[in-house]
């Protein structure tokens, strides 16, 4: 394992210190916690937006804190959902009285910890609601199972719900728009190399020199199928086809996100984007926005994901709205 860290046990805390030291005008750490909040939180009369989860997904989630996006990010240990007490601190810090929306990715741990925090906050008289993002079409959404996972599409939920909240919308309105995004967003990923959790000290899984893992998550958990590595065009086709098969995007406009998982060069993400755009053109699906970059990573995992979001006039305007978030400036 090769990491530029000090002590694996303190990697997350060291990171938070380094992050807040870098952007002290924008970010603040709640003392004694792993919660990072917008400097000016709570923003008067604004619904507070709290997201978070395990760390290792940087720039998620603290990179999305800012005017027009999140108010707080709760940072767990690497790939480990943060605990309810931490989430509760975040809720309390960002509540201006207008209520707080929790944006949760659909993992058992995240859902349980955030829900417990919501219960505690409600007990303290804070109005809290939640949405659960589950954009990953690699895994099935059935009531008998855990359902689909939340991956890169979550960033678009942050952006759009954040813009809505910034405009002064009510908690219900912010939740409704977030649900609208969740209903229209789908993603699918691939990995060509695994990552190493610092405290684990060894790779999450191993891939041969000519293999890739289709349907990868963002926690170093294995994907759904191991295959021979193909070309960028074939990979783009496979991921996009899966996304298009899951939801009817016909005749809609879409926002596209090509997300790098960590160590895949931007060059390769753009090469993937080239094919994705061609496929969408073939399907006569018009593209309103494209975002190519590292938005939701899995440490130094290699690979990428393709996300499509159905957009209408309302969502396009919210996507375009001003944002000062470090990793999503608009």
């Amino acid at each position: 394992m090769k990491k530029i860290i000090n002590d694996p046990e303190h990697a997350v805390q060291d990171m938070i210190k380094g992050l807040v030291a870098a952007y002290p005008q924008q970010l603040k750490q709640i003392k004694g916690t792993n919660v990072i909040i917008r400097k000016e939180a709570p923003v008067a009369n604004k619904v507070g937006l709290v997201s978070g989860g395990g760390s290792g997904h940087e720039p998620a989630h603290a990179g999305y804190i800012g005017n027009g996006m999140l108010d707080a990010a709760v940072v767990g240990e690497v790939f480990t959902s943060p605990t309810p007490d931490q989430v509760l601190e975040a809720i309390k810090a960002v509540d201006s009285g207008a209520g707080v929306l929790l944006i949760i990715k659909n993992y058992t741990g995240d859902v349980m910890n955030f829900e417990m925090a919501a219960e505690m906050a409600e007990a303290e008289g804070i109005q809290v609601d939640k949405v659960i993002v589950n954009d990953d079409v690699a895994v099935e959404n059935s009531t008998a199972t855990t359902g689909r996972r939340g991956i890169a599409g979550t960033v678009l939920v942050h952006k759009i719900a954040g813009a809505m909240a910034e405009q002064g919308a009510s908690l219900k309105e912010v939740k409704d728009i977030a649900e609208k995004v969740i209903a229209g967003v789908r993603s699918m990923g691939v990995a060509t190399a695994a990552c190493t959790v610092p405290a684990a000290g060894k790779q999450s899984f191993e891939l041969a020199e000519d293999e890739m893992e289709i349907g990868i998550g963002i926690h170093g958990e294995p994907g759904i199928e191991r295959k021979k590595l193909t070309s960028a065009a074939e990979i783009a086709q496979e991921l996009t086809d899966k996304v298009l098969a899951d939801l009817d995007f016909k005749d809609s406009e879409v926002a596209v996100m090509i997300n790098g998982l960590g160590s895949t060069p931007e060059m390769e993400l753009y090469i993937v984007n080239q094919t994705v755009q061609e496929i969408l053109a073939e399907h006569e699906i018009k593209v309103s926005h494209t975002f190519v970059g590292e938005y939701m990573t899995a440490l130094e995992m290699a690979g990428c994901s393709v996300t499509l979001l159905k957009v209408d006039k309302e969502l396009k305007a919210l996507l375009d709205a001003h944002s000062t978030a470090l990793a999503f400036k608009m």
Binding site: G54, G76, E77, V78, F79, T80, S81, P82, T83, P84, D85, Q86, Y107, T108, G109, M112, N113, M116, A138, V139, A144, T145, T146, R149, V197, A199, A200, K202, S204, F205, G217, H219, G220, E221, P222, I224
Partner: protein
Amino acid sequence: MDHLQVNHVYQWMKITNDKIQKNKEVLTSLDQAIGDGDHGINMARGFQEVMNKLDAENYEHVADMLKDIAMTLMSKVGGAAGPLYGTAFLKMSTRLKEQDATYKNFSQAITEAVNGVKQRGKAEIGEKTMVDVWAAVADQMSKESHFSAELIVNTAKEAMESTKEMMATKGRAAYLKERSVGHMDPGSVSSFYLFEALAEVIAEEG
């Protein structure tokens, strides 16, 4: 032994922690196979904090001790295991509130724990989760009337091993579907350590 006392619970946690620290890598490898590889790390962090807490406090009642264990696990483990283990101990604490941990009470406390975990995780038996081990132990204990180290450890072991051939439908391993078959569930293995430690405390007391 006819009822669990504060010093027994302390020993239980101490042995559990020792086992978890010693097998941190085992748990991590199991979780890498079908999950995200953090179970060993999370449990090791959490149980170390439990020991720090227990060493720093004095307890008169088992229920108080169990409550602190619950709160520590809840706030230090994170992930799926944190709320689930936390809930288990919280339910045990509630059941034993102002009660002696007699065999009957303790056995019922374990049953309450199982119910709590099932509810929190929306999981049933056979879904390849820690529920499989806890439910098997609870079921076995409810049929007996006195502490039996051997029964507890055997039941837990068998239940843990049975998860190997199951296909996961809950938790992170559920995403792997068929590919989850052939590996034991990490949460079931850590739960086994916990019950193995309990059995050792019972055996020690005779």
